[in-house]
Amino acid sequence: MRRRARIAVKAVVWGAALAPLGALGWWTVTDDLTANPIAFATAWLGDWTFALLLATLAMTPLRLLFGWGWPATLRRLLGLFAFAYAGLHFAVWILVDHFLNWAQMVRDLVERPYITVGLLALLTLVPLAATSTAAMVRRLGARAWKRLHRLVYVTGVLAALHFLWLAKVGRTDQYLYVATLALLLGVRAGHAARRALARRAGAARVAAPVPGLGGLPDLRGR
């Protein structure tokens, strides 16, 4: 992609990712955060955390399905925004909702599985955010870095559990998020399975070379 187009796409991502925060700020100023502003802000930030996490996880499937490489360049930005929103979501819970009532928060964390997994989801994002710079990729080495960053799949599953567990009977929006997550992880799983099959087929052909041809090239590592 051309440099200018890349910059334009990044600008759109920045704008889109900051818009929900801007809306929250605007509604705060106009006293328009519903009758229960704290509950609304918590849910709003939580929804957008999940949406940004899904956007982050959608970049690789776009390459796998359509062969587009450029979305991968947005992955880090989207992931860091997801982390920022998760942090804000958690901060509202600690600072505004419970007003630093540690005793009650600790009890909630222990007794309420949805809160436990929510915090775990946030914690899994910490090492990913901390190693998001190019320097850290070099320091860890691409292989180790990649392995570490697969932790984001765990984040996704924990976030899904968090949402499913907290949603009241009768609500349906949580299923939309969870179905999207399942789709995005499913595309990866399908791709990985196909690769594994191809590798095995390749190995089998190497093990039993066709006489006279001297065997087929080893497909491992492709």
């Binding site: 818009a19 709003w44 957008w48």
Partner: protein
């Protein structure tokens, strides 16, 4: 060089000038769609109090709490009324489809004198009073509402329950034309089993605090708050106080109740406000009073322990939640 530069654009790539001049509108529109599409189109507005018929009634000071009332705008825009939808502003946005007049309330079952009442007949027949009650939602928020109504006991006395009656069942209107969430579509999930039913033990129903409300804030009930007549049981979680009632039936067995059917482990038949008994997924120890910043501790029986505690003497409130 000049030629190559000129070739960088195809005619089809050039934006029409009229569109180009409106580019900011598209960006603004896109941003609005992005924000609005995710749960919140615009702030829902509260009904004007003057748009509802006045229903003044003397306040029963003895049975009223002395706490500031929740703002009208909050009490009429932040509602759980699943017949309109699961979001808090669905009732305020969609309540126009409910027609609270004419309206008939049937009172029957194990009674000596079953009756059908027209809503206006009820209003004339029973002396109305104002009662300021705290309303504690099972979702850990609360309001203070000045209801206008009459004790359920007065109505039950008229129909004369038989000796066999032990429970009272309340039924909300079931009419998909008036309640959009009761409609069945291809992709719509029924959030609850319609009609919404609730129930009380007869002694709970006869308790002087148990109110049939027909108004609030000195006006008839707004549709989103359960017009034209609803139950108000101030020591129980809000979902017990069924709205838009069409039937009150005296029965022998404990009636099935809507939320209990939907999630039996989460919503019990009794649903007494109790800070010691958590909802399986969240604590009930504290609540947020709408309009206040800090959470406040939740009181046993929503502050009415002295008045209603005896009804549950000897019962394990953890078992009968």
């Amino acid at each position: 060089m000049l030629i190559r530069r000129a070739a960088r654009f195809k005619a089809s790539e050039i934006t029409d000038e009229a569109l180009y001049l409106r580019r900011r509108e598209f960006i603004a529109g896109g941003a609005a769609a992005l924000v609005g599409g995710c749960g919140r189109a615009e702030a829902v507005s509260a009904p004007k109090p003057e748009s509802l018929a006045p229903l003044p009634a003397p306040r029963n000071e003895r049975l009223s709490v002395r706490e500031p009332w929740t703002r009208w705008e909050h009490a009429t825009t932040y509602n759980n009324f699943y017949e309109f939808g699961v979001d808090k502003d669905d009732p305020a946005r969609l309540a126009g489809s409910l027609r609270p007049r004419p309206w008939t309330l049937v009172v029957d079952g194990l009674v000596h004198r079953p009756r059908r009442y027209d809503i206006d007949e009820l209003l004339r027949k029973f002396p109305l009073e104002e009662r300021v009650y705290p309303l504690r939602c099972v979702e850990a928020w609360s309001m203070v509402i000045p209801w206008v109504g009459f004790p359920l006991a007065a109505l039950l006395k008229e129909v004369e329950p038989t000796g066999a009656a032990r429970f009272v069942e309340f039924t909300t209107l079931h009419d998909p034309e008036q309640f959009p969430a009761q409609r069945r579509g291809v992709l719509s999930f029924a959030s609850l089993d319609w009609p919404y039913t609730e129930g009380l033990r007869l002694d709970e129903a006869l308790h002087p605090l148990t109110l049939l409300a027909v108004g609030m804030y000195g006006r008839v009930l707004p549709n989103q708050n359960g017009a034209p007549i609803r139950l108000v049981v101030p020591w129980k979680y809000g979902f017990k106080s069924a709205k838009s009632l069409v039937r009150i039936r005296l029965v022998r067995e404990q009636p099935a109740t809507a939320w209990n059917k939907a999630a039996p482990h989460e919503y019990g038949f009794y649903a007494n406000v109790n800070p010691e008994v958590s909802h399986p997924r969240w604590s009930q120890a504290t609540e947020r009073r709408i309009g206040e910043f800090r959470r406040r501790p939740t009181l046993l029986f929503n502050g009415y322990a002295a008045e209603v505690g005896h009804l549950y003497a000897g019962m394990d409130l953890r078992q009968d939640y």
